[in-house]
């Protein structure tokens, strides 16, 4: 569990450390005080399984669970009949297939409404069990959360 104040401090530190900007496939990002959105090119495995070309990660804070929350969208870019590059949301029956086999059972990923669009949410109810919330390691909570929720599959 992470307080909102600690979340905003740790999110800013992570942003400044360029942890996402230096990822393979990084395209662009948006950041506010509480939300960090990162656009990445889909890696080969995800592209083959889902047909997606873009993976969008959205990190937010859940006031209910008092935890960071990961939302994702997969999008497919293609050129339409007019020659314009357009994107289409990829809807797949089971989003956990984008994860490597050995961690598929660790996460529940379901679609939800979020700020006027549909995002696939990594459910937060077992976040503390996954990340561990010992007081000694509180300052690195978000870094460890990213390691479990994002680095493990992106």
């Amino acid at each position: 569990m992470l307080s909102f104040e600690d979340y905003t401090i740790q999110l800013e530190l992570l942003y400044k450390s360029h942890v996402f900007q230096e990822k393979n496939g990084y395209v662009t990002h948006n950041i506010s005080k509480t939300i960090f959105i990162v656009y990445l090119k889909a890696n080969k495995r995800i592209a083959e399984i889902t047909g997606a070309t873009i993976v969008i990660l959205r990190i937010e804070y859940s006031q209910i669970y008092r935890e960071p929350t990961l939302y994702i969208q997969l999008q497919q870019e293609y050129t339409d009949v007019s020659g314009f590059l357009v994107t289409k949301l990829c809807v797949i029956p089971d989003m956990t297939i984008i994860l490597p086999n050995h961690i598929q059972g660790s996460f529940v990923i379901e679609p939800e409404q979020c700020h006027g669009a549909i995002w696939w949410c990594f459910h937060q109810c077992n976040t503390t069990d996954i990340v561990g919330d010992g007081e000694l390691y509180k300052d690195t909570y978000l870094k460890r959360w990213i390691s479990s929720y994002i680095d493990a599959w992106v």
């Binding site: 006031q63 209910i64 669970y65 809807v91 797949i92 029956p93 089971d94 529940v108 379901e110 679609p111 939800e112 409404q113 006027g116 669009a117 549909i118 459910h123 109810c125 077992n126």
Partner: protein, 289 residues
Amino acid sequence: MNEIRRLVWNGTLNVQIEIDKSLIISTRGDKPLYVNIKIPRETYISLFTESILHRVKDYLRKDISEIVTNIWFEADGNLLLWNIPIGTSHDIITKSRVGSMNDISDSNTFIQVWKIKLVCGADLPATHIPIVNGNSQIQKYWMHQWKQSCFILNGSSKGVMSLHMNDSQSFWNSILHRTQDSFEEISKKIIPKFPRKIPIVLHTKGQTDSQYHPMIVNVDNEGEKKTLSQLVEQFSEANNLEIINVVSQGIPLPLDLDLHFLFLVFSSFDGFLHLIITHPQDTAQDKSY
């Protein structure tokens, strides 16, 4: 209290559903096709999609299985989100008619019918959660709502996550088969006598896709139970509480009631107390309905 819970559970809507013309075979010409159905207020409308289509299957261009994932519902031009209780959607969209039975001169013969549309299209509305796994997806979504509710009530989701598999299935079956006793028996295992916080969804903008989950403690620092008026003061944009109307389960609520009591009486089948806050200007626009 049990009697009110029974009335809430048994509440129904008379709904007339116009079927999207693009789904209907051409031999019917331009004649609209309707399905009249009574739907429990306490359910998700998408649980009824297949049975609605089944009733008009002889007039459909395609097999139901080919179109069911591309279906959504609209009322008065608004998307009806399948993932909030249909009774709540009804109250949000038809806000002017809440409490309007007093205006009907012959209430014995008056039947209120809600007219909505079943729409089919390749491009789903932006805020419609695609249903690609049928009722099992709806069940998972509903269970996730209960995990959230349980976390707010208890500070942990373990009450839901540790339910016996038979209880989990019976809980869901109680929604499908409308068995209130089974629902209340299992929800009692999740809802504590003295909750930390109250699971509430506020609907404030007269739109089905405008929701807010306020974090409301049951008892404040002075040991007083939080009331509806305190909630409205904290989260409504209106300056004058006297002009505000708060509705749950189709019933206008007095603002002095405590939220724990309201939760126990009016909470929905998804584990949340849905409160609709309206202002007089919202209702004035809809008087023509």
